[in-house]
Amino acid sequence: MSPVPFLPAVVEEVLARHRGVPGALLPILHDVQDRVGCVPPEVVPQIARALNLSRAEVHGVVSYYHHFRSTPPKARVLQVCRAEACQAMGGEAIWAHAQTLAGCQVEAVYCLGLCASSPAALWGERLIARLTPQRLDALVASSVQP
């Protein structure tokens, strides 16, 4: 693990990049999450001040969108699609199987746009389609770092 940089400095840098951009809250939150792994509650006042918003407004946005998280994931994230096209190809069995796997944090996602090659999942940054429980096992096992 690389040392965690001083949080207010990271946020300040992100805010500087988006200064003067209209409606910049989502891009700011994306940048913070990309760098820190989440949008921690302690950065909310700093962002609110910079955008002349209330803390409640910023918190409201962070908590509204599924993509933003307030705490970092405990392990590499496995997003399993639970939408109809994946359900039609056994996606729920993949979902159930994923719950039994160690070394990953399983989350639901609703459509990755791989509906003609379902079931599909996103393993960290990696897209996977035509998923089977066996393939999922192999993938997670090969990717989990000691």
Partner: protein, 499 residues
């Protein structure tokens, strides 16, 4: 030796990157093209030959040596790709370049008729531009099917110092991937369509709102915007900003998307005012789906009459249908309106992937109707579908085989609505949760008849009382499942009327 290997997400997700790396390491010249949309064949490797591109798929690493040796007799060989009936029988206007070009190559785009529509528009008055779109009969491809030309004219005639072009690329419907294919596979087409829209109304700035679940689309499209800017296609007259969404389905609704672009929670706005008059930051805004903008360049380059010749009645042009779910040959099929579901699912799709009988096809995303076999011969056009209470939507088809539990899928529709509801209006926010409970009681035979009446009342309230399509259309899959498959809800077939 020149090979084409797609860089589309659907190819990458089944190993295209590894194949491309291995082929390049063997000394082959590898072009990362867009995808043909023949997804059951992905990763599809195409070999450049004097007769045309010769395809192999679905490829694995073990197949590479034979492909690199140019073997034509091979288990994975599919022959000349453009002669494949699946492709040859399509009418590709929007997806004319799919699988052929390198998505980010400006030279490829130019040599394959790129920018012709924009150049035609630049030679016209701004009124003539929206008039062409109006005359073509093009209707919004996002789902609502509102005539694009009327929207463009409204924005053009609005008086304002600032106007915007916003592209809705928040393609959240399960069973759809055509927007993603444009963003990843032919990004300059979308840029061209938006630039034409800007000319029609004098907008100087555009936004493309892309889902966070489409990481490759965000990446490719962002690069395309930078390259188009460097080449002078975007700049001071009209520029585009890419915005990444954050996983909210309801932000595909146009006013929720505007809120999100403004940096707020994606809560639906009440209309009026319509976005064409008071949209992004309160300014007149053209909002269209990716496929709508992507249909425009060909309308400008070949004329409204050419485009209008495709289709039936008031559904003019072509629609890229997306064959998904339990289907043998899933992929993108662009055809004129008027084709039937049976032709798409069986003629193109080859039936289910599982080999079992098809039970139901959901058309138009999670808010679309489940169609039983008795409705598979209705022509796919907006009016014919509306007449049976169904929607064409974004053209996505999700096929389910005979093992599908329609009560479970109806419950899922309500559950999805409860998860994704923005919460602004009561029928959607509360109704969806009550819907899940009522369906559970129906299935458990807890006063079944009474609960069915309750479910119908609840759906009636949601349809007529919701602010947007999220709550207003969730009853479509629910009621179609109940009406056509009552046995799955525990209602005996001979009591069908009771359902």
């Amino acid at each position: 030796m020149k090979l084409f290997i797609p860089r589309d997400s659907a190819a990458v997700a089944v190993g295209a990157d590894e194949l491309a790396a291995a082929a390049a390491a063997s000394g082959a010249q590898v072009v990362r093209s867009s995808s043909r949309g023949l997804f059951w064949l992905e990763p599809l490797i195409e070999l450049d030959t004097p007769e045309g591109r010769f395809g192999y798929g679905p490829c694995e690493l073990d197949d590479l040596p034979a492909i690199l040796a140019g073997q034509r007799e091979h288990a994975k060989a599919v022959g000349l790709v453009e002669a494949l009936p699946y492709l040859a029988r399509q009418q590709r206007l929007t997806f004319a370049r799919a699988g052929i070009t390198d998505p980010l190559s400006l030279a490829d785009y130019e040599t394959h008729d790129g920018w012709a529509g924009l150049r035609a528009a630049q030679a016209m008055s701004s009124d003539a531009v929206w008039q062409q779109v109006l005359d073509s009969g093009l209707r919004g491809r996002g789902g609502a099917a509102f005539p694009a030309g009327i929207k463009w004219r409204t924005v053009a005639q609005a008086q304002a110092t600032q106007k915007y072009i916003v592209c809705n690329a928040d393609e959240g419907d399960s069973g759809t991937f055509a927007d993603r294919m444009v963003l990843e596979g032919d990004p300059y087409l979308l840029i061209e369509g938006m630039a034409i829209a800007a000319l029609s109304c004098g907008a100087t700035l555009g936004y493309v709102y892309i889902r966070s679940e489409y990481p490759l689309a965000v990446d490719v499209f962002t690069q395309a915007v930078q390259r188009a800017r460097a080449a002078g296609f975007l700049g001071s007259a009209f520029d585009i900003h890419v915005r990444k969404a954050a996983g909210s389905y309801v932000c595909g609704e146009e006013t929720a998307m505007l809120e999100s672009l403004e940096g707020k929670r994606g809560i639906v706005r009440a209309k009026p005012p319509i976005p064409a008059l008071s949209g992004l930051f309160g300014c007149p805004t053209v909002i269209n789906n990716v496929l709508t903008f992507a249909a425009v360049p060909v309308i400008l380059s070949r004329g409204a009459a050419f485009y209008k010749d495709f289709g039936v009645g008031r559904s003019t042009g072509t629609l890229p249908f997306q064959l998904a779910g339990n289907i043998q040959h899933g992929g993108l099929v662009e055809l004129a309106f008027g084709v039937t579901l049976r032709e798409l699912v069986f003629g193109f799709g080859g039936g289910t992937a599982s080999g079992r009988p098809v039970k139901a096809v959901q058309v138009g995303g999670p808010l679309g109707t489940y169609l039983p076999e008795s409705q598979w011969d209705i022509p796919l056009d907006y009016e014919a579908y509306a007449a049976v209470g169904a929607v064409v939507g974004h053209g996505g088809l999700v096929v389910h085989d005979d093992r599908a539990d329609m009560a479970g899928l109806a419950r899922y529709a309500m559950e999805f609505c409860a998860i994704e509801s923005c919460g602004k209006c009561t029928p959607c926010r509360i109704g969806s949760t009550r819907g899940v409970e009522v369906i559970d009681k129906i299935v458990a035979n807890h006063n079944r008849q009474q609960q069915i009446t309750l479910l119908r009342d609840l759906c009636d309230t949601m349809v007529h009382g919701s602010l947007c399509a999220m709550g207003g259309m969730t009853p479509y899959p629910v009621l179609s499942a109940l009406n056509h498959f009552p046995a799955d809800f525990g209602v005996p077939a001979d009591h069908r009327d009771a359902a």
